[in-house]
Symmetry: C2
Subunit: 396 residues, 2 copies
C-alpha cells in the first residue's frame, strides 16, 4: 500500500434472498416522488417489477416511470431523464436493472440540475458536481459492472461515436443497493458470462500494475480465485444460489474503489473495449473478452513477475522447473481455457466489428498508459486485428 489515498464507500448494501426487506427500510428516508428507472421491460416478465412497485405503493410513494434505458445509455435518453427529474421534482431515483440502468440513474442524478451542459461539463471535462444531487437507490438484476456500489456512469453519444465513463465521487454513489442473487437467475447465459468476465476484467485492470507488494494484490487474487470457481459452477447450473451470490458480491467489490487502494491502475482493456462498444453496440463484457487475450499477451513481457505470480496464485500453476516467462504464458493460457469454458465470445467479428471500423475504434480509444506498457495507436490497431482473427487454436 504505497500510495496516498482516501477511501470512503457509503453505499448501504442489502444482500441475500430477503434483500427486498431493505427497500422497505430505506424508502421512508426519502420524499414522496420516486422515478422508477428500468430497461427493456424484462423486469415485467420475471416479477421483479411487480415486487418493487408493490413495496413502493405500500410506502405511499408517487411513482413516475422512466423505462427503455438501453444497454449503452445514450446522451439523448439521459437528457430526457433529467427533464423528468426536474418536472416531477423527484426525491429518489430507483434504478431496477443491471449496470446500464444504474449508470444512467447516477448520470441523471448528478446532471438533472447541472448549470450548463452536463455532457460537456461532467463527462468530457470531468468537472466537480456542484449542484443538487438527487439520491439514487438500486435494485440489481444483473451482476458485472459494479455500478451498484460506485460512482461510475458510462454514457454513449452516438453522434460523436464516443462512449465516455465518468467516475463521480462518493456523494453520487447509490445510497443503497438491493442485491438478491435470485434476481439474476433469469439473465440469459450470454449476459451472465459477459458480466462474469466484466468483473474479472475489473480486477485485472487493477491487479496488473506496479511491482510492489500491496495487500490489495493479495486480496484480488482471492477474489479472482473465487470468481473463476463460481463462474464455472454458474455456467453449469445458473440456479446455483451460492455461485450466483458469490458472483454478485464479487462484482460489487471488484469496482467499488476498494481493491485499487494504494495502487496505480491500468484500464486499457476497458478503453479499447468501450471504443469497440461505441461502434458495434456489442455487450460490454464481450468486447472486453475479445480484447483481453491479445492485450495481455502483448504487455506480458513488461510485467513478467506479476504475470507469473498470476499463474501461480490465481490458476494454481506449479512453478516447479518453469521460467517466469513460461509460467506467465501458462497462466494466460489457463485464463483462455476458462474463458472458453464460460462460452465468451473472443472474436470481435462475431460482435459485429468490421475491418472499416478499426481506424475509428483506435482513434476513439483513450491511451492511458497506466499498466505495464503505454500502448501506441498502432498497437491498438494490432490488438483489434488480432481480436478479429481469434480462432481458439492456440500455438503453445
Amino acid at each position: 500500500m504505497l500510495g496516498n489515498f482516501m477511501y470512503c464507500n457509503p453505499t448501504r448494501l442489502y444482500f441475500g434472498e430477503k434483500a427486498m426487506k431493505g427497500l422497505r427500510k430505506e424508502l421512508p428516508k426519502y420524499g414522496a416522488n420516486v422515478l422508477l428507472v428500468y430497461g427493456s421491460g424484462s423486469i415485467k416478465n420475471n416479477g421483479i417489477y411487480d415486487e418493487v412497485t408493490a413495496v413502493l405503493a405500500e410506502a405511499g410513494k408517487n411513482v413516475f416511470e422512466d423505462p427503455g434505458v438501453m444497454p449503452n445509455p445514450t446522451l439523448q435518453k439521459m437528457k430526457e431523464g433529467c427533464a423528468l427529474v426536474r418536472e416531477h421534482e423527484i426525491d429518489l431515483i430507483l434504478a431496477v436493472g443491471g449496470g446500464s440502468v444504474c449508470d444512467y440513474a447516477k448520470g441523471i442524478s448528478a446532471s438533472a440540475y447541472c448549470s450548463g451542459d452536463p455532457w460537456e461539463r461532467y463527462y468530457k471535462r470531468h468537472d466537480k458536481v456542484d449542484n443538487l444531487i438527487v439520491p439514487v437507490g438500486c435494485v440489481l438484476t444483473m451482476a458485472g459492472t459494479g455500478s451498484e456500489m460506485n460512482g461510475g456512469s458510462v454514457v454513449t453519444n452516438p453522434d460523436e461515436n464516443v462512449k465516455i465513463g465518468r467516475v463521480f465521487g462518493d456523494n453520487v454513489f447509490p445510497k443503497f443497493s438491493i442485491l438478491n442473487p435470485k434476481f439474476t437467475y433469469t439473465v440469459p447465459k450470454y449476459q451472465m458470462v459477459a458480466g462474469i468476465f466484466d468483473t474479472m476484467s475489473h480486477i485485472m485492470e487493477q491487479y496488473f500494475s506496479d511491482e510492489d507488494d500491496s495487500a490489495s494484490d493479495y486480496i484480488m487474487e482471492g477474489m479472482m480465485r473465487s470468481l473463476v470457481h463460481s463462474g464455472l459452477v454458474a455456467v453449469d447450473n445458473p440456479h446455483d444460489y451460492e455461485a450466483r451470490s458469490n458472483i454478485m458480491w464479487l462484482a460489487a467489490w471488484a469496482l467499488n474503489t476498494f481493491v485499487e487502494c494504494g495502487k496505480t491502475t491500468d484500464w486499457e482493456v476497458h478503453m479499447i473495449g468501450q471504443a469497440m462498444g461505441a461502434y458495434t453496440d456489442a455487450t460490454h463484457g464481450m468486447t472486453l473478452a475479445a480484447v483481453s487475450l491479445p492485450y495481455y499477451r502483448r504487455i506480458m513481457p513488461y510485467g513478467i513477475a506479476k504475470f507469473s505470480r498470476f499463474a501461480k496464485n490465481v490458476w494454481n500453476v506449479d512453478p516447479e522447473g518453469k521460467s517466469e516467462e513460461e509460467l506467465a504464458a501458462i497462466g494466460i493460457n489457463a485464463m483462455e481455457d476458462w474463458m472458453a469454458e464460460l462460452g465468451l465470445v473472443m472474436n470481435s467479428r462475431e460482435l459485429g466489428m468490421t475491418e472499416d471500423m478499426i481506424e475509428g475504434i483506435a482513434d476513439a480509444t483513450f491511451l492511458l498508459g497506466g499498466g505495464y506498457k503505454k500502448l501506441t495507436r498502432d498497437e491498438v490497431i494490432d490488438i483489434l486485428r488480432e481480436s478479429m482473427e481469434y480462432t481458439g487454436d492456440r500455438i503453445s
Copy 2:
C-alpha cells in the same frame, strides 16, 4: 455468500504518509469543541501530539484533553470521559492512539448522553443507542484492533472482573480515520507483533466457520497471505514502510464487517483471550496468541476440510500424498512457526496468568459456539491449562 445481511461502512479513511491532510479536510465539518483523547502520553514523545494539536489550532478549535486512556479502558475512566463530553459540549471526539483509545472514544461517544446506566444498557444488555451520538474521528498510531473502522468498543469493569466488547452500529463508527503507517514506527516490537496477531486472529475467527464456498473465505485467504508475509518483513525491519502499510490496511479490513459478510463467525478465541485479559491485564493480542494453538488444535477435527484448505491456500502446503488430517495439522504447525518467528508470547504464564485464575477466567468466558465446535467450560479449562504449559516443543 449464503446468508442475508446488510453491509454499510461509512468511515472515511485517509491513508498514507500524507494522511494528516485528511484531518485538515475533516475538521471544518464539525463544531468548535474538540475532546482530544489519548493514552499514556507516548504521542508527546514521538511528535504526533504536536502535529495533531497544530492542525487543531490552525482550524480554530477549542481543545479539551482527556489523556490517560489505559490499554484496557475501565468503566470508571469511561464515566469520567462522558462527564467531560457533557461539560464541554463536545462536538468532535478525536482519538489519537491505538485500538484502546479508539474503543474508548466510541464508548463515550455513544454513552455520554445515555439515559440510564450505559454499562448496563449498552455493554451488558446491548440496547440500541437511542441518544445523541457525538462524532468520533481517529488518528491511528498502532495497528491491530480495527477499531478505526468499526463500531467495536471493549471496556473492562475491574470490580466485576469482566471485559465486555460491544459492537455498535454504523452510526457510531468513526466518521473518519487518519492512517499514516509511519505513525506506527515507534510502537515497541512487543506491541507491533501483538497487533499483527490480533489482526490474524480477527480473520481466523471469521474464516473458521461454515462448510460452504463463500467468496469471503477466498478474500480472507488473500488477506492472511499478505499479513503473514508483511508480518515477517516488519519484524525484520520495523521501518519497512510497505510492510507496515500493508499491516495497517489489513488490520482495518479484518474487522470492519466486510469479511464476515455472508458467514457465521466463531470468536471463541477472543472470548477466552478477553477473559484472560480481564484477569491479567496482559496485551490483548498476546492473550489471543496464548490461546490460539490449543484452541485450534482442539476444534480441528470438527472442521477438517477448512483446516486443510487453510494449509494449502494460506501456508502453501503441498497436498500431494497427504490426507486431509495431515494437511490440517501441517497448516497449524506452519502458523505456529510463523508465530514463533514473530516473537509472540504463547505461554500464558509469561502473561501473568496463574493457576488460581483458571476457574475465574473460565467462568468469565462467554461460550458462543459459533465455530466448528461449541466448547464446554471444561474444555476452556483444558485450553487455559495447555496455554500455561506451552514450551514450543512440538510433537509432530
